[in-house]
């Protein structure tokens, strides 16, 4: 207890562990970047920094335009609120005005395909339905930068296709897309560049196929060594 108090008062974080070291990159409008790497490599920390949830201890992050991030399954959603109430809550969290939310609510519900349940509490939804609703809100905000952390894999095949179409259309409109996933096929279809993180360091950043080749080659090597 007193140790905890002392560390708080000295305003030091819990440990000297560095989640990211010397990572530097740029993503242009219309580009999409996949972030890959093993668990604990710093992928989610990277996305949190870009989203503006936390500030780096050293270095700077500059983002131009409105960011919408889907960092976790149904973050900002509450199980006791109905689907519609959650849409309004989330839209306001993402920076919508009331007028725009009203105008878009229908389209959000339609895209998510949960119309029959929209006035039911969210706890009665399946996981897939929650993700569909969350994704539907996020893409309909029309952000300049869309950030997605490992949530796309949950929807069914039909919904995944629709998401992919939406993200492709979104990129054609000159918007930026950042994505963390362990699902290679969906990353290959959505992103043209990739960054490989390992223990907080950037191993490689370039065309997605090259990065995957190097990443998988190294993983295979590591397995062989064992």
């Amino acid at each position: 207890m007193s140790q905890h108090l002392a560390s708080v008062l000295r305003s030091r974080p819990y440990s000297r562990f560095r989640a990211l070291k010397g990572v530097s990159f740029e993503v242009a409008p219309g580009e999409s970047l996949a972030v890959i790497g093993a668990n604990g490599a710093g992928k989610s920390t990277l996305l949190s920094l870009v989203t503006g949830l936390t500030k780096p201890d050293k270095g700077i992050v500059t983002v131009n335009g409105r960011v919408a991030a889907l960092l976790e399954l149904g973050s900002g959603f509450h199980p006791d609120l109905t689907g519609m109430e959650n849409i309004f809550l989330n839209a306001s969290l993402l920076g919508f005005t009331q007028k725009r939310t009203r105008a878009l609510a229908d389209e959000i519900v339609e895209f998510a395909g949960v119309r029959d349940f929209i006035h039911e509490p969210l706890r009665t939804y399946s996981q897939g339905m929650v993700v569909r609703l969350a994704f539907s809100v996020a893409v309909n905000v029309d952000p300049d930068v869309l950030i997605i952390d490992e949530v796309l894999a949950v929807g069914d095949a039909e919904f995944q296709t629709r998401c992919r179409d939406r993200i492709h259309g979104y990129r054609r409109a000159g918007k930026t897309f950042l994505c963390v996933s362990h699902n290679k096929p969906s990353l290959l279809s959505l992103c043209d560049r990739a960054m490989w993180l390992d223990h907080g360091e950037m191993m490689m950043c370039g065309p997605i196929q090259d990065v995957f080749d190097a990443y998988e080659g190294r993983s295979a090597l590591a397995k062989g060594a064992e």
Binding site: H4, L5, V8, S11, P13, Y14, S48, T51, G52, L53, T54, K55, V63, R66, V67, A69, L71, E72, S75, G76, H78, D80, L81, E85, F88, L89, S92, L93, L94, G95, F96, T97, Q98, T101, P121
Partner: protein, 253 residues
């Protein structure tokens, strides 16, 4: 970073708190009335049957004390816990953090409105009426809100780093209960403490409410000035500390 509609955001956060609190209750909003009524019945029994308090309109006298105190205690408590309880939001959505404790405080306002209705009911049955000085009440309650928001900002931020804060708040509320003239009158307070008493915004509000509701007179200027001074001071301190502490919320939640 976050550019959006603050009013819409605040409205939705307040609605969320509100809906979550009441949706799973069978008595719902009725609790807002039941709680002061039960307290009132107990006090009434103890202080008119056992201690034989000479105060006229005892129910109204007590209500003028309970309402400000209850509002402050509940809003302070929920406000203090708000950041930790909304950790999912703080860690995943880049909303301006100040909005969270403020919304949590404001979501208690409906309680207050209902309880003011109760007070008016008692007022009319006692044969009193609403007088011109009631116009002071919106100002008084606004100052109270400013004060509570300041406290909520201050303590919710500290609570992120030191989770014992909420137990401190619980104990402090208990102490405050006796330091606010809820069931004794201000005239019973020894003269040398009277000045100090008025610096406590909850006590000041209770005194002003009694002046207005029971004695049909305006609260004194000195009292109003003290209330304004302390409320603005609390909000300033709350905002300042909150700003200093919020960059590390992410690491500690």
């Amino acid at each position: 970073m976050w550019r959006g509609d603050y009013r819409f955001l605040l409205k939705n956060l307040i609605l969320k708190d509100f809906r979550i609190r009441y949706r799973n209750m069978s008595l719902g909003m009725f609790w807002s009335l039941l709680n002061p009524l039960v307290m009132l019945a107990v006090y009434d029994f103890v202080f008119t049957k056992i201690f034989r308090s000479p105060v006229r309109h005892f129910s109204l006298f007590i209500l003028c004390g309970i309402l400000p105190f209850n509002f402050f205690a509940t809003a302070w408590m929920t406000g203090t816990a708000s950041i930790v309880e909304n950790a999912g939001l703080i860690k995943r959505v880049p909303v301006p953090r100040e909005v969270v404790p403020i919304a949590s405080v404001l979501s208690n306002v409906l309680h207050l409105v209902i309880q003011m209705g109760l007070l008016i009911g008692f007022l009319l049955t006692a044969g009193l009426s609403i007088n011109i000085y009631w116009l002071y009440l919106p100002l008084l309650w606004s100052l109270e809100l400013v004060f509570v928001c300041g406290c909520a900002l201050l303590f919710s931020a500290i609570n992120v780093y030191i989770r014992d804060t909420r137990y401190f708040v619980e104990s402090a509320t208990l102490v405050l209960f006796w330091l606010v003239p809820i069931f004794y009158s201000f005239s019973a307070v020894p003269p040398r403490f009277k000045d100090l008493y008025q610096y406590n915004p909850i006590a000041a509000l209770v005194l002003a409410m009694r002046d207005i509701v029971l004695d049909a007179k305006a609260p004194s200027d000195v009292l109003m000035m003290k209330l304004t001074f302390v409320s603005i001071l609390a909000l300033g301190a709350g905002l300042l500390v909150f700003r200093r502490l919020k960059p590390r919320f992410f690491d500690y939640l």
